[in-house]
Amino acid sequence: MINTAVELAGIKLKNPVLTASGTFGYGYEYARFFDLSRLGALVVKTLTLEPRKGNPPPRITETPCGMLNAVGLENPGAERFIREILPGLKQYPVPLIVSIAGCSVEEYATMARLMTSAGSIDALEVNISCPNVKAGGIAFGTVPEMAAEVIRVVRLNTDLPIIAKLTPNVTDIAGIAVVVVEAGADAVSLINTVTGMVIDIERRRPVLANQVGGLSGPAIRPIAIRAVWQVYRAVKVPIIGMGGIMEARDAIEFMLAGARAVAVGTANLVNPLAADNVVRGIEEYLASHGISDVNELVGAAHGKED
């Protein structure tokens, strides 16, 4: 028997494959393509306290082996999510991780409280890539003190496991990982999108209405692998690795770099079966390589000597 189960901040997952927030909607769009209980866990689109309309179109453009998006956290808000969407999500026999964000520390606190009391949520992923309105719009996740502060207040407002989702748009991602873990994060997930931009040379203006967007897809995978590698050496908590996972071999690369779980993002947009294929492909890799426990892969590329 091959073991594919991993433990993540106290939650037991039947396999290490999650969905990346924002790329899998609230799950049901994909339920017509495969059985969602095949997944290790479901991570839903980031929620904020109030409903958000998000950015005007165009919100997406393609880049070499990647895409740029500026959805702008469109979401129905906490209340409607809890009332209208959460009941439907409960029907899937799969752990549910809810991603939360805010434009102030207080909003993060309120979100943590609301989601915790909503019940039937297995963990909170805290998206700290949002602009801090009080700090002139600098993203919480790019300043160690601000990142830590967010996690600290979330910790005070929930007893659910906390996953801090880190942005790669920093000089030292391992340093951010260290402070969020000190502040109470039970796990870290990385990477969020890389800030990028595309200009239309005919219109001579940025393609996206929002000007800048977040780069995702295979193009950023080497950046993400490096980030996971560095963070693995800096903290002891489990890492959820993501960034350009298209196939099982990519997921395995993340695990070897130090990820205990992985999330499939942009690949869902290209192929609705991608996450399911990754689950199957990991099983095949383990079998063909005579590995009896997926946990053996975690960090294995660091070797003994390092």
């Binding site: 769009e29 179109p57 165009p58 997406i60 393609e62 897809g217 609705p272």
Partner: protein, 262 residues
């Protein structure tokens, strides 16, 4: 229901300036497709380009399980697609989106196409014909070179009024102007339109003037095509004035009065 099919290509050839006709075998899709729905195609086996490309369904052959689309080569994806050989395979996701809705009691409708907006209207025309609803087709192209041979548009071929921006064919001017010259004279119960956004917007103004209800098929850059990524937003009427709808899942077809034009 939507399917992901490694579909065999039956034909894929040029039919007008920069325009290709592609047919592939995908019985599941052919079985369930409705006029106005689209398919989402991968144009490469590699990740460059990464995303699928949406194309409206031009017609289906349920008996042989075939699906047909018409596409303009405009960039990388459609450029690569035009190189796919018959016999090889293309990865197709579909049918997707909400198609046209036939209004109860309509007897005479106008179908108004700009460029390859003609594709979904061909499929619609066929369905209307089955229901014995009379349809007049208005088809605008930039120039005669972009016009498709009648045998490519079998169902609509004998009921199509052409307009060319440069006057090289049919009416000299936009298809909306052409339609307007008729709208005043002939009674239509309803219209269906597909084409570039500025054309649809102009058409919406004409339709309003003549109190003509109708539906328009919108285009927006897409990610998933299945309603999950929220990348394909357009403005529609909503509680506080407007809200964002998803072109791929709430559309691509919208009642004209629902659209809030940019």
């Amino acid at each position: 229901m939507s399917f992901i099919v490694e579909a065999e290509i039956i034909h894929n050839h040029k039919v007008a300036e920069g325009c290709y006709s592609l047919a592939f075998r995908a019985p599941e899709i052919a079985e369930s497709a409705q006029p106005g729905q689209f398919v989402h195609l991968r144009c490469s086996r590699t990740f460059d380009p990464l995303l699928r490309r949406p194309l409206g369904i031009q017609g289906i052959d349920r008996r042989d399980g075939l699906v047909k689309v018409l596409y303009q080569v405009v960039g990388k994806g459609t450029g690569l697609l035009s190189g796919f050989e018959p016999g090889s395979r293309v990865n197709v996701l579909g049918p997707l989106g909400c198609g046209f809705t036939l209004p109860a009691g309509a007897r005479r409708v106008a179908l108004i196409a700009g460029g390859l907006g003609i594709a979904p209207l061909c499929f619609l025309y066929e369905t209307l014909a089955e229901q014995r609803i009379e349809a007049v087709v208005f088809h605008g192209v930039r120039s005669a070179g972009q016009a498709l041979a009648p045998d490519l548009l079998p169902p609509v071929a004998d009921r199509v009024l052409m307009a060319a921006d440069d006057g090289s064919l049919g009416y000299h001017g936009s298809v909306v102007k052409l339609f307007e010259t008729y709208a005043g004279q002939e009674p239509f119960d309803f219209f269906f339109a597909a084409g570039p956004s500025p054309m649809l917007r102009a058409l919406s103004i004409v339709a309003k003037e003549y109190h003509l209800p109708g539906e328009v098929s919108l285009e927006e850059r897409m990610g998933c095509g299945i309603g999950a990524c929220l990348c394909c937003n357009c403005r529609t009427r909503g509680e506080d004035g407007w809200r964002y709808s998803r072109v791929c899942a709430d559309g691509p077809v919208f009642p004209v009065e629902e659209v809030v034009w940019p």
